[in-house]
Structure formats: structure tokens, C-alpha cells
């Protein structure tokens, strides 16, 4: 990688007004012993599964089924995704990266804030972990193997580093044998991990 998405004068972190309020409140409550941060994390994780990456799955299914939409997603993912009503509140730019037989895409970031919430909901805990980020960069094939994904040696793996300004959505490859499926049925094949790049879309037979 080695590229830097930031301007020189802006290479620091930023918290939105609402994030400042939440952090201020939580840190005081923790200090005074009113809440246990581990308990808060556990609760957040419980509800994480309730958010689900359904919005992103709808985007991917539409891209699979509708070539015009797919082209729009390639050229202006922010607008194409917003057209379905999924709009980020922080003005972040969305970029869709498409998996092909030649290239598999995987997304990382150390900060939980660098995650496409409007399409994927809350980030999984492993996504925020330091080992995931460092290993995804150094040994992407090893990380994928741990997720149960084994790609052909000829498939290149490209890592995309999220920033506060740019968030990536992986468009997984459409499984074979899905030509007759509706967009709703296709969306069921699209897992969260397949849109981060640590998984593949489900096979239709796995749904029966």
C-alpha cells in the first residue's frame, strides 16, 4: 500500500459531535463505576447481529441482476448506493470493488469508524482487531484460509485500506446456477463477510 488518502494538514483523527457526546458520557460512567465497558461492548455486539448487512446485500443483488446499475456502481458508488436510500451521515465516499476470477478484494481499517455503516451495519469485532489489520496486509491468503476461503493461486488479492473519507464495499462474484433467481433471493446469498472480502457469496444449493 503506502499510499495516503489524507491531505498533509489533516492526518489526524476526528470524532463527530455525537461521537464526542457518547464517549464523554461513557468514559465518565466507567470512571465512576456505573457501567462496565466490557458489558457495554457485549451488549453492542449482541445487537450488532440485529443490524445485519441487509442494505449492502440489496446493493450487491441489484448489481448482479441489473447491468446498468452495476455500471453506475462502478463509476459512482456513492450515488448508486444513495439511490436505494442508503446514505451515510458523514459525507463519506463509497467505492465498490468488484471481485473477478483474477482479483479478490479485501477491506481493512484499524478504526471502527472506517466502515461502511449505511450498507453493512456495525463492524464485527474481528474487523476492529489489530491482528486482523496487520495480518490482512502481510498474509492475506493465511487470513482468508482462517475464514475458510481458499482461492486459486492465480487469483490476485488486493487489500483496500479504508479511511475516514473513503469506504469500500466488495462486490462478490455471483455464484453459478443463479440465473433464474430474483433479486430478493440473490440478496440472501450475500453475506456480510463476502462484502468485506473475508468470505464468498453463498452457493444457491446451500440455501435449500
Amino acid at each position: 500500500m503506502g499510499h495516503n488518502h489524507h491531505h498533509d494538514h489533516d492526518d489526524h483523527s476526528h470524532l463527530s459531535g455525537i461521537e464526542l457526546r457518547v464517549r464523554a458520557l461513557e468514559s465518565i460512567l466507567v470512571e465512576k463505576g456505573y457501567v462496565d465497558p466490557a458489558a457495554i461492548d457485549a451488549l453492542v455486539e449482541t445487537y450488532e447481529v440485529k443490524v445485519g448487512p441487509r442494505n449492502g446485500a440489496k446493493v450487491v443483488a441489484k448489481a448482479w441482476a441489473d447491468p446498468d446499475y452495476r455500471e453506475w456502481l462502478r463509476t459512482d458508488a456513492t450515488a448508486a448506493i444513495a439511490s436505494l436510500g442508503f446514505i451515510g451521515r458523514q459525507g463519506e465516499q463509497m467505492v465498490a470493488v468488484e471481485n473477478t476470477p483474477d482479483q479478490h478484494n479485501m477491506v481493512v481499517c484499524t478504526l471502527c469508524s472506517c466502515y461502511p455503516w449505511p450498507v453493512l451495519g456495525l463492524p464485527p469485532v474481528w474487523y476492529k482487531s489489530a491482528p486482523y489489520r496487520s495480518r490482512a496486509v502481510l498474509d492475506p491468503r493465511g487470513v482468508l484460509a482462517e475464514f475458510g476461503v481458499h482461492l486459486p493461486e492465480t487469483t490476485r488479492i488486493r487489500i483496500w485500506d479504508s479511511t475516514a473519507e473513503v469506504r469500500y464495499l466488495v462486490i462478490p462474484m455471483r455464484p453459478d446456477g443463479t440465473e433464474d433467481m430474483s433479486q430478493e433471493a440473490l440478496a440472501e446469498l450475500v453475506t456480510r463477510d463476502s462484502m468485506i472480502g473475508t468470505g464468498l457469496a453463498r452457493q444457491p444449493e446451500a440455501m435449500r
Binding site: 489526524h12 483523527s13 470524532l15 464517549r23 464523554a24 458520557l25 456505573y34 484499524t110 463492524p123
Partner: protein, 127 residues
């Protein structure tokens, strides 16, 4: 989750929480789930009753509406957060001034943290 449904029921008397197509609760950003989880944790510690919570949430929503809130559901958890801040202040745990000072500290900490590293309160240069 029954604890969750208890809370949803109380909130529904004031304003129903946002839910997805399938009836499951929806949080659009991590902070919304954090605000929700803090309320649940404080309630379980006995810091306030459901009646007090309903009154605080109702007050926060009325205040926002008076101030011209768009009232389309997108600001729901902002009201939720205002309600907790109010209760925490009323109960003498953290005054409005203490919360404001801590927000400033987090803001300085964020600016002092290079992108890509965890933002810690200890990064605040004035701390």
C-alpha cells in the same frame, strides 16, 4: 431479548424505536447501539425507573421538536442520548459542565491521534 423488549415497550409509550422490515431493531451507527446499551446498563444498576426514563425521553423529544427537529426518525437516538445526559445530570453523576469538559477533552485527543490509531483519552495533550 426480553431485556431489550422491556425497554422497547417503555420507549414505545413515548416514541417507538426504529425497526427494520422484519421488526428487528435497527441501529445505523455504532454510537446508537452504545447509547442504547448504556441506558440498559444504567437501568439494570437501578439508577432510574422506567417511569423516569419515559419522562426523560419524552422531554428530550419535545425539546427537539420545539427546536425544529426534522422528526422523521433519523434523529431518534440523538433524543435517546439527550435523555441519558439529562438523567445523569439530574442524578448528580455528571453535570452538564462535566460532560462538556469531557467532550472537549475527547475532541483534543482525537486531533492529537494519527489516523489509523485508536483514539484514547490519554492522547489529550492537556490531560
Amino acid at each position: 431479548m426480553s431485556r431489550y423488549e422491556d425497554m422497547a415497550r417503555v420507549a414505545a409509550e413515548v416514541a417507538p424505536i426504529p425497526r427494520g422490515d422484519d421488526g428487528e431493531p435497527v441501529f445505523r451507527e455504532p454510537w446508537e447501539a452504545q447509547a442504547f446499551a448504556m441506558t440498559l446498563a444504567l437501568y439494570e444498576r437501578g439508577l432510574f425507573t422506567w417511569t423516569e426514563w419515559a419522562a426523560a425521553l419524552s422531554g428530550a423529544i419535545k425539546q427537539a421538536q420545539t427546536a425544529g427537529d426534522c422528526d422523521d426518525g433519523s434523529t431518534y437516538y440523538q433524543h435517546w442520548l439527550s435523555a441519558i445526559e439529562q438523567l445523569v445530570s439530574d442524578k448528580g453523576i455528571a453535570s452538564e459542565q462535566a460532560l462538556a469538559a469531557r467532550r472537549d477533552a475527547w475532541d483534543r485527543a482525537a486531533h492529537a491521534t494519527p489516523h489509523g490509531q485508536p483514539i484514547l483519552l490519554d492522547n489529550d495533550p492537556l490531560r
